[in-house]
Symmetry: C2
Subunit: 476 residues, 2 copies
């Protein structure tokens, strides 16, 4: 039968990737920490399908997202698509199950999403998102709770330096209104320009708010066409800095006067007071008046997390408040606010900072069977270790010699080997090899004999009854 | 802007479903238990993409699976499809990364798969699979380890009665060979007929092994065309029963004689000895000579788990040995054996047996803000509870009256409410309400006044410093 098999080249699609055990062990660890914090703050899991009706997906993320939808057809000929985010599914579910998912409702989602855009370094067509969204609360104290979650997650992952930048983009809208710029489309254009501040600098965004500019490639970038005095007011506003949240808010208060602006400031004050109440240090959550997070979708408070020790990874979490979550699906709006964790970026940054351990396996002990020892002896011994909660693999491979077995442990980085040979069985003992110590010792030794001895020195023989205790001691 | 929104009916595609918090809380609990056991036996995670090249998917699961592949096209015009299982991705990855995923390699995968077949009750077009596969070991002691994992998982989930049925289908092939039936296609036909034993009964499979039969709807079912004496030998073989694995093996040994049959029996003996070594009771792993698991794909040992207290759910885990895992992707074969957990069926069975708790939330405490108390007080209090690891939600909704807040706790089944009012703050105390006890008391009381008092009786007021201790006491 083998002859008729058509050989297929083993490869993944462009923009896709496999997560090998070392990738996934690291990711699972980070995901578990974050999930625990989501749950501690009262968020519950909800999972919507990967495939949705095309009209459910279409339009909800704006034109940019529509282009990225990966379309397909159901066996019944209906137009469908792969989800490009998890928020659209939440919005649909809130409208579909109003009796079950009563507001206020806090959910988390941890799943894959698909985008049919151009892949590039770090840009994949399938990637995981960890999202929390709180629906049904207009009070921005909820936004402060989400910021607290971001801080707690970053701290729990071992980071000491992290900043969540917070802003209320309505403040900018209010100043524009005060200057007579009331059209939402122009206001949003200004927010998108400000979003580019870090990338293109103050002078360039000044030009983009005015007549426009020519970019490095010679292409013209049309401007918003604001008057110079309006631009000055906006730039003054977004340039405000200060040592504490309170200080920044008081400085912003000097620059605005209208009722709308006062309301926007009041929301920032609510966020700041809530952060204080939850003990979030001023260094970890800062008001950044230039933060807009470009997307049209956000309506007021926005927030994003940066790692000052690894700025090249950009924002590792980001989100904000959107007050029109379900209106595409039902006759009313439900206010919402939420954050998405860029798990791939976050993992890359943590790895860069040495905060994730690279492990190819979860196995703690390899049971090595020697000579004519029956495999059942090894299985029996493995059962004892597993009963003690120790992850144990019995080597059962094509070649059962000692070298193959120890090289397997070495390849996967299994730290301890328990060796079961005929002598051991006859004497009621087991040999336990500390493979990490042996490796370390060998690395430090140049001389061949000493090298071999180091291997032996890291091995002990103990009574069978001491097996679990001795393995635990080595693993500790 | 609201006016131009085109309203979309909130609904999922046919054959899809949402997993609401209660579904997912239950599923996550079961998945976590099983994942822990997979890891304890030395299996590591591997995740391959949901979308693969069509030629990668095509052919690997047989014609039946090909029909079920949900096809799509990449933005670059390549033919692709959604994966219908997780084994095809494993096979591809083993061929693609031979240096990293060196044999023996044990991996687990827990992800969604998609099938474009007809949906029905309990049959979805997207569903989750939990799979383990051990690649690179021809020794069937590995199959015994997988059976031990199945047993340990079922036991850890609270089941006392469960059986993993085990067989070596090669034994049937060997007897057929001995009778001169050597064509693999006829042998496989016989195995598929035997697979229907439980469904159609002994008389019907006897007819299907012979001339064929007419089914209930009047349709003819073609037979294998075996001679009556051959059928008798097969039926004798598959009817063997006994109290222990050893007894059944010895009875089977009476019925076969050829070298091939002896080799098949030797494998069963290896499995039985390994199960004994791992302490798996005869009641929990039984040899069932009629087990074939229809699929052409398996080559020798097969196994499946049944719950005698809930037989209507069928097999909740199933798998076996397939020795041609990667040959579609590379120039050699790697033997493999593995099991898939039908997580939906398993959950349904556990729920039926009262072994999963129905919970709509993970939240343990709702902080209720009374009257003019600032929300910051509630946030401060929630931080204290969360610091103690208690999942806490601060009620922040559209209506902040007591009734709305307690009805929220009631709707989601949050067990404890902590009430922060002006009196409490003034006196340095908090009121803690045991909502479960109150509910229970009210259920038992007919009289209106007593009903109201029961609500009060379940409430205590304690010094603020005793908050965490008192909440812990109630939750215990």
């Amino acid at each position: 039968m083998s002859e008729d098999i058509q050989r297929v080249e083993p490869r993944v699609l462009k923009g896709f990737r496999d997560l090998l055990p070392s990738d996934l062990i690291a990711r699972n660890g980070v995901v578990r920490v974050i999930q625990g914090i989501f749950e501690k703050y009262g968020f519950v899991p909800l999972e919507t399908p990967a495939v949705e009706h095309i009209e459910t997906l279409f339009g909800s993320g704006g034109d940019e997202a529509n282009k990225e939808i990966w379309r397909l057809e159901t066996p019944d000929g209906e137009a469908a698509g792969l989800r490009f985010d998890q928020t659209v599914g939440l919005a649909r579910a809130l409208a579909q199950y109003p009796d079950q998912l009563k507001a206020p409702f806090r959910r988390y989602a941890m799943g894959n999403v698909w985008r049919a855009d151009k892949p590039g370094p770090g840009r994949y067509r399938q990637f995981m998102q960890l999202d929390i969204d709180a629906a049904g609360s207009a009070n921005v104290a909820v936004d402060a709770e989400i910021i607290a979650i971001m801080c707690e997650a970053l701290s729990a992952l071992g980071l000491r330096e992290y900043v969540v930048y917070v802003n209320n983009r309505e403040l900018i809208d209010a100043v524009l209104e005060d200057c007579g710029i009331a059209e939402p489309s122009r206001q949003k254009h200004v927010l998108r320009v400000i979003d580019k501040l870090a990338k293109v600098g103050l002078d360039n965004i000044r030009r983009e708010m005015g007549p426009g500019r020519i970019d490095d490639s010679g292409d013209p970038i049309p401007g918003v066409g604001l008057a110079p005095e309006v631009i000055d007011r906006i730039l003054n506003l977004i340039s405000v800095t200060g040592a504490t949240r309170a200080e920044i808010i008081e400085q912003l208060a000097q620059l605005v006067s209208t009722e709308h602006a006062q309301a926007a400031l009041a929301d920032l004050r609510t966020v700041a007071a809530a952060l204080d109440a939850m003990g979030i240090h001023d260094d970890h959550a800062r008001i950044q008046p230039s933060l807009t997070r470009g997307l049209d979708y956000y309506t007021s408070i926005v927030y994003e997390a940066m790692l000052p020790q690894a700025p090249q990874f950009g924002s590792v979490m980001g989100g904000g408040r959107y007050n029109r979550l379900v209106e595409r699906f039902m006759d009313r709006s439900i206010p919402g606010t939420g954050v998405g964790v860029g798990i791939d970026r976050l993992l890359a940054a943590l790895a860069h900072l040495g905060l994730v351990e690279e492990r190819k396996t979860v196995v703690q002990v390899l049971v090595v069977t020697m000579g004519k020892t029956p495999l059942t002896e090894s299985l029996r011994l493995a059962s004892e270790l597993r009963e003690a909660g120790i992850s144990t693999e019995v080597y059962i491979g094509a070649k059962m010699n000692l070298k193959s077995q120890l090289s397997h442990a070495d390849h996967y980085g299994i730290p301890v080997a328990v060796i079961v040979g005929e002598d051991e069985i006859a004497n009621g003992v087991v040999s336990i090899k500390d493979l990490m110590a042996g490796k370390q010792a060998r690395l430090e030794i140049a001389d061949h004999d000493a090298y071999r001895k180091a291997g032996t020195a890291s091995q002990v023989t103990v009574p069978r009854a001491s097996l679990v205790a001795e393995v635990r001691r080595l693993l500790a």
